[in-house]
Amino acid sequence: MMPQSSFMVLAAIDPNRETELRALLDSMNEAPGRVNQTNPLVPFARLEMLHFARFVILHDETIDDVKVYNLQPQTYPLYLAFLGDIDGNEKAFLRELATVAADGLRKILSCCIGFPSGSDLVRWMQEHRAPPIANYVNRPGRTVRQVHEEAALQESIVNFIKIRTPALAALSPRDLHAEIQRFVADEKLAGRLMLSPQPATPIDWQLRNLLHFVGMPALFFLASPLLILLAPLFLFRLRMLENSDPELCWRVDPSYSDGLANLEDHYVTNQFTAMGSLKPGFVRLAVVIGVLWAVNWGARHLFTRGRLARIRTIHFARWVFLDDRKRMVFFSNYDGTVESYMDDFINKTGFGLNAVFSNGIGYPRTDWLVIGGCADEQKYKDFLRRHTLPTQVWYKAYPGLTAIDLERNSRIRDGLESPSLGEKEARDWAALL
């Protein structure tokens, strides 16, 4: 399989050139929230390994929230984040990117501090990389190419069925399977369909993955005597904090939420960018790092079949620390509206949501880290909307397809590639068509 990875370039914007940058980013869209896939600045669609990408100005409206802890608000630089999810490794992608979009990227990045005109684009982007602390991929190994090929396969089968309905409808599921196998084989021969075989998994990636799979629990095991010893103290402190941490959950100004809504629901999939300051102190930092390590480990080794716990609508998501772990940004690409996304999280995996985000300033009150919190639905939604940022440019390589569509198409293909299916398997397979 071809593993996926991510990239993120983070650079401070030159305050004198923010307006110019915003205009440049807007010029990449056909309309607000609708990217021009082949815009001259960064023609995303020409990058065949790219699943999702976005440019977002990390303008944090909640910077003063730290005052509730009697801390002086910091004056952080205003960052531009450019990030995406890709097939293969980051370096190869950045090189490709620099070939396809050198001029456009130079134009955009020159609005950032410290971008010298003659600089090596790839090197500069690498120097400004912001790696995630946790990353989720819906289906590791599924490449953009595979998505397109399988979508074409599904469409072609649906058309075949449409033309041949009376004959096919009379067939048993197993005979139907065989008949469609024949049709697909012919289409492949004629060069009308392409189903590329899975590429070999890079050995070094396999090794690193195995090491990560074993290493994290091993480290945890080694540290466990100490953790058990510290746990009572830790929990006591956490409970104290939970009892005193203030909630900052009020409804955002309608003009702000309208600004966000203008960019949403143009496609079946939406982007989500949220940021905020972490609660001060060692305990909260340790909790958020620990939980995100666990999330990252789980995402990499357990949740590799299209589900992040119970959630089936996320394509890619990641958490990134900023400014010496004082702040955090969360990026996600999910199907449906933001309202259904929030409901999904609250009702299906509220515990996980609480464990991560309750370490952010102002989150609705939790008990024992996982209880309560987002169960106060409206407070949570208000909190989240306050922290949501408008994403200026957002690209998706397969705009009409949801994660469920991708899964269906992959299941259709997998079934086709099994030489024969049992009675029940054939029935389940036929139900996908």
Binding site: K162, D258, Y267, S340, D343, R427, A431, L433
Partner: protein
């Protein structure tokens, strides 16, 4: 009286009753012309409450306000600001239209009322009456103060079709049962489908399905707010929302002829087959019998007599009984908090962690108990029997449709979610390229050019897929209203 006890005489009757015996109804969409007169008329209006009366009253009068209406009544801006954002922004806000599927022919710019400031009503006054009683009721109500107070934008007429909606199918069979006594504990995970819903889902000021109080205006006590009830969770505040709820109205014009002509053409002119196909669109036969099998054990919140409502889709995981995309399966998937009914703590934990059932369609939908609505709509236009609908339309064929009305405490989580994530969603329940067979707009989306399909799943062979469904329903108007308690109404009109 305990703080959260329900005072029925403070609640408008529509929340508790559909006024079914009052077969006649007309709704007036009004704008305030003269403020003192409007207040005076509203103060003297005999609003029917939810208290039971013996004998039941022969007529009823209800009133609800848009956000523009509250401003026209010069309700304090601080109080107005406490209502929900979707109510304040209104149904026709551009981004909202995209979510609700109000695009193309159904776009607000095309509406007959509800879009643009002149066509936006301030209030709706609803008159209900037993046969023969409507005319005298209207005559009494439309007095000289009325004439002075209001500009009539439009009268919405209704037609009594005896529980059959214009396409010819029994309607209004499934309604949530409100837990008026507030005995149910909504914080307990629901493993079996229940039709019993927390009072706070349909009435502000009471705990909702999250056991929380939905946001609403809570006021500082002063002379003006003295008569209002205190908030249950914050007794020092006056609760303007208490015993009131949001009232969603949409005028849905139904093209009955197009509907039956399409079915007929798909069935090659065989009417019985067309009826069957229509039933698969709806999920019920014309008589209202569900296509999913009725179960023997009774569902909480559904009486044993309501046989047509005694079912879930659990035993029909493949959609061969009732298609996944059928209207009633979209509007109420009858699911629970967990897929596959995990019994016991451990099984639930496994499911919670994401290791529950892994079938293609497992766990795709949100739990329905957070997305219920109370429907109170009425039909309009003369009856057109399906047998006659296949014929070509005569000149000046009258319009038919539904004044869709629903009540809910949280418009975005209930009505809007249902409309967006389930009704118009072209990706509902693992389907693709199709939206609700009755209500869908068939408008293309970016990357999904075709949305005019409908799939009928089959057990042991290939599904049937129809294509080229026309748009049968067009939105012609609509607005979000607030249906206040009687106390809140006095506050608005003081």
């Amino acid at each position: 009286m305990t703080p959260n006890e329900v005072d029925y005489s403070d609640i408008q009757g529509l929340v508790r009753f559909g006024f079914g015996a009052m077969k006649e109804a007309r709704y007036a969409l009004l704008r305030v012309k003269d403020l003192p007169a409007a207040r005076a008329w509203l103060r003297s209006a005999p609003i029917t409450t939810a208290a039971t009366m013996d004998p039941p009253p022969p007529t009823a009068l209800q009133v609800a306000f848009t956000a523009a209406g509250l401003k026209a009544l010069e309700v304090s801006p601080a109080a107005v600001a406490g209502f929900s954002p979707e109510y304040l922004a209104g149904m026709t806000e551009e981004n909202r239209s995209r979510r609700l599927g109000d695009i193309g022919q159904s776009a607000p710019e095309e509406w007959e009322w509800g879009y643009g400031s002149d066509a936006m009503p301030h209030l709706i006054v609803m008159f209900f009456a037993e046969p023969g009683q409507l005319a005298p009721l209207l005559k009494n109500s439309k007095n000289s103060i009325w004439e002075e107070a209001f500009t009539e934008i439009r009268w919405l007429e209704t037609e009594n079709l005896d529980g059959i909606e214009p396409f010819g199918f029994a309607d209004g069979i499934s309604q949530p049962q409100i837990d008026w006594e507030q005995r149910r504990d909504p914080t307990r995970a629901e493993v079996d489908y229940s039709n019993l819903c927390s009072l706070g889902e349909f009435l502000l000021g009471y705990p909702n399905e999250y056991n929380k109080f939905t946001e609403r205006p809570l006021l500082e006590p002063d002379e003006q707010s003295a008569d209002l009830l205190g908030a249950v969770e914050a007794p020092e505040k006056k609760d303007l929302g208490r015993n009131g709820t949001y009232f969603v109205l949409r005028d849905l014009q139904q093209d009955v002829r197009a509907f039956w002509q399409f079915l007929n053409q798909q069935s090659e002119g065989d009417f019985a087959t067309a009826e069957k196909l229509g039933a698969s669109f709806v999920g019920r036969t014309r008589a209202g019998d569900p296509l999913a099998r009725v179960q023997k054990s009774s569902i909480p919140g559904i009486t044993p007599e309501e046989k047509q409502n005694q079912f879930t889709f659990e035993k029909d995981p493949g959609g061969s009984g009732c298609p996944f995309g059928a209207h009633i399966r979209r509007a109420n998937p009858r699911n629970t908090d967990f897929p596959g009914r995990p019994a016991g703590f451990f099984a639930r934990l496994v499911t919670r962690l994401g290791f529950g059932p892994r079938g293609f369609r497992d766990d795709l939908m949100s739990s329905v108990r957070f997305h219920r609505i109370l429907r109170r709509g009425r039909e309009y236009g003369p009856e057109l029997r399906p047998e006659d609908a296949v014929a070509l339309a005569p000149p000046n064929d009258p319009e038919r449709g539904l004044h869709f009305i629903c009540l809910n405490a949280n418009i975005s989580r209930q009505f809007e979610f249902l409309q967006n994530a389930w009704i118009v969603n072209t990706k509902f329940s693992g389907l693709t390229n199709e939206s609700d067979p009755l209500l869908g707009t068939r408008a293309p989306l970016v990357g999904c050019p075709a949305t005019a399909h409908f799939t009928i799943e089959a057990e042991n062979h290939l599904r049937r897929r129809l294509s080229g469904l026309p748009q049968f329903v067009t939105v012609r108007g609509g607005a979000y209203f607030f249906l206040p308690s009687l106390r809140a109404l006095r506050y608005f009109t003081a």
